[in-house]
C-alpha cells in the first residue's frame, strides 16, 4: 500500500496475514488472562492514548512549532524548535518522578531530588541549543569572509 494506484504486493499480503494472526494471538492471551490483564481497560487505554496523541499532542506540537517560533531569526529557529521538543519530552518523562507519584515507604524508590535534576537536564539541553546557534553563527561569519571562487582565479593575479 505504498502509492494510491499501486497494487499490493506479496509482502503486503504476508504482512497482513501474519500481523493480524499475531494480533489475534495477543487478543486471545489478553482475554484468557483477563483477571490480570483487564482487557477492556487495556483496549480503552490503546484508544485513549492514540486519541490524546492525534487530537491534542500532535496539533499542539505543530502549533507550537509554527506560531511559537516563526518570529525568530532563521538561524535560531531550528535549534530553538529542537530544544523545545527535547525539553517537552524530558518534562513529560520526568513528571511522575518530580511529582513522586510512585513514592512509598522505601528509601531506595525515587531516591533523588528530581526537581533540581530536571532543571539541570533542561539547562544542559538549552546550553546545547545555544552551542548549535553559536556554531552556525561562526560558520556563517567564516563563509562571509571567504573569498568568492572568482576572486581566486589566475586572472586576478592570485
Amino acid at each position: 500500500m505504498n502509492a494510491p494506484n499501486q497494487r499490493p504486493g506479496k509482502a503486503f499480503w504476508i504482512g497482513l496475514a501474519a500481523g493480524w494472526a499475531v494480533m489475534a494471538f495477543g487478543v486471545v492471551g489478553l482475554i484468557a488472562n483477563r483477571a490480570d490483564t483487564k482487557p477492556f481497560e487495556v483496549a480503552y487505554r490503546f484508544v485513549e492514548l492514540a486519541l490524546i496523541h492525534d487530537a491534542v499532542v500532535a496539533p499542539l506540537a505543530f502549533i507550537a512549532g509554527a506560531i511559537g517560533t516563526h518570529w525568530l531569526p532563521a538561524i535560531v529557529r531550528g535549534p530553538v524548535r529542537g530544544a523545545l521538543a527535547l525539553s517537552a519530552i524530558v518534562i513529560v518523562f520526568a513528571f511522575p518522578l518530580v511529582q513522586r507519584l510512585g513514592a512509598r515507604q522505601n528509601s531506595s524508590v525515587l531516591p533523588l531530588a528530581y526537581g533540581p535534576n530536571l532543571a539541570i537536564v533542561l539547562a544542559a539541553i538549552w546550553l546545547a541549543g545555544a552551542a548549535v546557534v553559536v556554531r552556525r553563527l561562526v560558520k556563517r561569519r567564516q563563509q562571509r569572509w571567504q573569498p568568492a571562487p572568482s576572486e581566486l582565479s589566475p586572472e586576478r593575479g592570485v
Binding site: W13, G15, A24, G26, D36, V42, F62, L86, R104
Partner: protein, 384 residues
C-alpha cells in the same frame, strides 16, 4: 469513502508533505529505527517472560551470571531511547493522517485499521513501561501480564505496517538525494538536523537513566527512579519487609525446612546454617524494572543443602518465602541452577547480616536470575 477535510486543512497538509521532515525518507529512517527498537524490546521482554514462566521446552542456564542483567537492561534502555523516536515518527507522518480518500479498498482499510493498535499499542507499551519503572500504577491491570499481551498486539500491528510499507521504505532509503541545488541542500540539511535532534533526545534519555544499571554512570542517572548505590545497605530494595507483611523475623525462633523428594528432611536453625560450609559469590541482583547492583553474597550453597537432605544434584526445587501472600512468595530453581554452587541461600551481604528489607535472615541469590526470583525471607526448600 469520499470524506475530505476542509480546503484549508488540505492546503496545510500538502504544504507539510513538501517539508523534508515529513517526507518518505524521514519516515523510513525513523520507522526503521523504531522497528528495530521495538523488536529488541519484544525479544528481551519475551525472554524475561519465559524465564519467569518457563514452559516445559524452555531452559534458562545460570551462566553467564550477568546475562539477565544485560538483557533486561537493554529492554528498558531501548524502550526509553525509543520514546523520542516514536514521537518524531508520529509527528513526521501526522499530515498523512489527513490523506484522502480515507479508505481506498479492503486491503487499505485493513492496513489503516491496524494503525489503531499500532499507534495506541506503541504508546501504551512506552507509557505503561515508564510508569512501571517509576512504580506508579494508575490502572487496575497487573502490569507484567497486560504489558506482555499488549506487546503481541502491538508487534502484530507492526508486522502489518512493515508489510504495507516495505517497498516504499526500501525505495526511500535507497534513493540517492537529488543533485544538490540550493533547495535540495536546504531540504537535506533540514532533515539531518531534525534526525540529529531526535538522536540527541534519545541519547539524553539514555544518559539520564542508564546509570541505574551501569554503575560507573550512576552519577549521571539524574532521572532514574533507582540508583544502584541508594537504599538499605547501599543498594535498592523492591519490596520492603513491611510491604511484604513479614516484618522482622525473630532469629531465635527461625527455622529453615528442606523437604519434598529428600531422604532426610531437615529443619535448621539460623545457628545451624551459620555453622555449615559457607560460599561467597559476587553476583548482580537485576530487577525487571531495569536497575541492577552487584554485591558480595555469603551463605550456604543450595546444592550442598539439598545434598545434605539426601537428594541427588539433578533435582529441581522450589524456594519458599515467609510471605503469606504475593505472586513471588515461591521461586523455582531448575536443575542447572541448583547444580551451580553459586546458587546460595545468603545470610550475609558484603560481610554484614542481611537487613530485614533485603530478606533477613536468609534470601535466595543465584546467577542469571531476575530479581523477583531472588526470593527473600526464605523459610523452606521443597525438592522435586
Amino acid at each position: 469513502m469520499t470524506i475530505a477535510p476542509p480546503k484549508r486543512i488540505e492546503q496545510w497538509r500538502d504544504r507539510q508533505m513538501d517539508d523534508p521532515r515529513h517526507n518518505d525518507r524521514t519516515a523510513a529512517w525513523l520507522g526503521l529505527v523504531l522497528g528495530v527498537s521495538f523488536t529488541i524490546c519484544f525479544a528481551t521482554g519475551l525472554l524475561s517472560h519465559l524465564i519467569q514462566h518457563p514452559p516445559s521446552w524452555f531452559v534458562w542456564f545460570p551462566r553467564p551470571a550477568g546475562l539477565y542483567r544485560v538483557t533486561q537492561g537493554v529492554h528498558v534502555a531501548t524502550g526509553l531511547a525509543a520514546i523520542p523516536v516514536l514521537f518524531a515518527k508520529l509527528w513526521s507522518v501526522y499530515p498523512r493522517l489527513l490523506q484522502t480518500p480515507v479508505v481506498r479498498n479492503l486491503p487499505h482499510a485493513l492496513e489503516r485499521l491496524s494503525l489503531v493498535p499500532l499507534v495506541g499499542g506503541a504508546l501504551f507499551m512506552l507509557v505503561s513501561g515508564v510508569a512501571n519503572i517509576d512504580l506508579w500504577y494508575p490502572w487496575s491491570f497487573f502490569f507484567p501480564a497486560a504489558h506482555f499481551w499488549a506487546a503481541w498486539i502491538t508487534m502484530g500491528a507492526l508486522v502489518v505496517h512493515v508489510g504495507a510499507k516495505l517497498t516504499m521504505t526500501r525505495q526511500a532509503l535507497r534513493a540517492q538525494p537529488r543533485p544538490l541545488d540550493e533547495t535540495a541542500r536546504t531540504a537535506t540539511t533540514d532533515r539531518r538536523h531534525f534526525l540529529a535532534w531526535v538522536g540527541a533526545a534519545s541519547a539524553t534519555l539514555t544518559v539520564v537513566t542508564i546509570g541505574q544499571t551501569v554503575y560507573p554512570l550512576r552519577h549521571l542517572a539524574l532521572l532514574a527512579s533507582r540508583r544502584p548505590d541508594r537504599g538499605v545497605q547501599g543498594f535498592p530494595v523492591n519490596q520492603t519487609a513491611a510491604e511484604a507483611g513479614v516484618g522482622v523475623i525473630d532469629a531465635a525462633t527461625y527455622r529453615l525446612r528442606v523437604d519434598g523428594a529428600v531422604s532426610t528432611p531437615l529443619e535448621l536453625t539460623l545457628d545451624d546454617l551459620r555453622h555449615l560450609p559457607m560460599r561467597t559469590a559476587t553476583l548482580p541482583i537485576a530487577c525487571v524494572e531495569g536497575w541492577s547492583a552487584t554485591r558480595q553474597w555469603t551463605g550456604v550453597s543450595l546444592r550442598d543443602l539439598v545434598a545434605m537432605a539426601g537428594a541427588s544434584a539433578d533435582r529441581s526445587a522450589t524456594v519458599v518465602s515467609a510471605e503469606e501472600r504475593g505472586r513471588y512468595r515461591t521461586s523455582p530453581v531448575n536443575p542447572d541452577q541448583l547444580a551451580d554452587r553459586d546458587t546460595i541461600l545468603a545470610l550475609l551481604v558484603d560481610g554484614e547480616p542481611l537487613a530485614p528489607d533485603h530478606g533477613f535472615p536468609v534470601r535466595l541469590i543465584g546467577p542469571n536470575r531476575p530479581g523477583v526470583q531472588q526470593t527473600k525471607w526464605v523459610t523452606g526448600v521443597v525438592v522435586a
